[in-house]
Symmetry: C3
Subunit: 134 residues, 3 copies
Amino acid sequence: MGRLVARTQGRGFYPVGHWLDDWLAEQGARDGELTVFLRHTSASLTVQENADPDVQDDLLDALDRLAPEDAGWRHSMEGPDDMPAHVKTVLTGVSLQIPVVAGRLDLGTWQDVYVIEHRTEPHQRSMTLRYLGT
Amino acid sequence: MGRLVARTQGRGFYPVGHWLDDWLAEQGARDGELTVFLRHTSASLTVQENADPDVQDDLLDALDRLAPEDAGWRHSMEGPDDMPAHVKTVLTGVSLQIPVVAGRLDLGTWQDVYVIEHRTEPHQRSMTLRYLGT
Amino acid sequence: MGRLVARTQGRGFYPVGHWLDDWLAEQGARDGELTVFLRHTSASLTVQENADPDVQDDLLDALDRLAPEDAGWRHSMEGPDDMPAHVKTVLTGVSLQIPVVAGRLDLGTWQDVYVIEHRTEPHQRSMTLRYLGT
């Protein structure tokens, strides 16, 4: 079992695939599966395109449209960006399982793993890593 | 392998994390990972905030806006709440993996595990539990 | 570890549960859990209703409303359907874990596993399969 902390600097995509590969190498992982679990309710995990940075900006805008700050949320005491962040987290998820082949994440050519920070302020986002396999 | 049934009383969030911890204790689980799989297409599983109940009400409203009953659905024979329930299930998911550390779910401070009932009427929602680890 | 390729013919739901059961039988799987990971960023995996085909058409329309082609996306060089496909993939996911009982996927009565193709043109969508168990 391992822990990884992503230090985020506001709303955005933060790539973590290289850290996960490093951690797998330290464990001597070969063939199996990695579970990544984010221990937060206003940030999430996703697998997405690693090539054109416009894709990430468009994804952030799409999430904003699905959960706008001015929707009249009951839960507003933690700031206008908090409740939208919870909605975005429910829609994108906090648990990922990724196959490991020959010691590395078996991602597609255009995929990387990202923490999505949905809050405006910097945060420390803690993940639990669990590898099962040989 | 285990089964757990959540008896829901209409649209809402139903916490199940305490049941999962009880089941892990019965298995003698120590360190590994729990898979929870919900065997339904109009209810879902999520990990979300366990503190302010307003968050859950806001999340339900957000899902209603993303899949309103009056959107002119083709599939209407099971009632106006059924097709929106399918959409909400696709957006939030039915499969969760959670790391287990020292015999308990390794959740963050503000996290609990919920069955989200998307239908109006009470239902029995069956989950399959699978623990892998020591 | 196995690979499975779904040859898609445009936007739609493609059932793959029968292929997964066949693959589990070839492995001699009995009791455990299957991870399916889709190695793409514009198609996704979901578990949904296998009975009324209207449900799938309504789901596709719902996803179109959440990520319309005319939303003014920055990322447009791969065609008007590409950026919406990325959004839909983030909302529905590429990683699924399904319990296996007595050698078969332990799905509910109304559930099947689907690749959702979000692009207009045909594609070959590659999945990695990993079985953990007895």
